[in-house]
Symmetry: C2
Amino acid sequence: MPTDQLSTTFAALADPTRRAILARLVTGDCSVTELAEPFAMSLPAVSKHLRVLERAGLIARGREAQWRPCRLEAARLKEVADWTERFRAIWEQRFDRLETYLQQLTAKEKRHGGKKRGQ
Amino acid sequence: MPTDQLSTTFAALADPTRRAILARLVTGDCSVTELAEPFAMSLPAVSKHLRVLERAGLIARGREAQWRPCRLEAARLKEVADWTERFRAIWEQRFDRLETYLQQLTAKEKRHGGKKRGQ
């Protein structure tokens, strides 16, 4: 089991239902019943996902006795975004190189009138 | 086991050693031996992590018989960054609200000469 915060966050995000729940909470706080609606899933199954998200600090739950609204805790997601930033230069470089390559290919095609050159 | 790409990516990132390996590869391609160096870990243990990263499409390995250099595949990390973007407005909002609150607090402190007000 992961013990560091970022590993716990990533493990919690490794599930499409949990990511969909977080995306839903962008629009505002929700009850468990509201969150369960779009999923073909029992309330206990949704509650289980919510516990994982809560333990990872990705959501917080209100203290109101019956209706415990879920709220997005975006700070953990900011940590994920910050972590990916160190790789931005790499993917931008790769896309730049791909673009240059495609431009060269197009220029070559034009020069040769679209004809295939021999090997 | 997660079956969608983003879940596979997040699951692969839920480990500090695997994240450290990716961070190391930002500086350039590496052999397994080079990657194992900073970790108190056997080569087979590192190889196991590399297989997880390779299956998730986060690294690619060269086809040279003996020395199979590992290369970062940043496209998957761009997907993670893109996914977090939808939450940016939320965390920026929260930090803005926090800043406003702190400014109000400081202003109030100044007005009252640092004295505590009664309830």
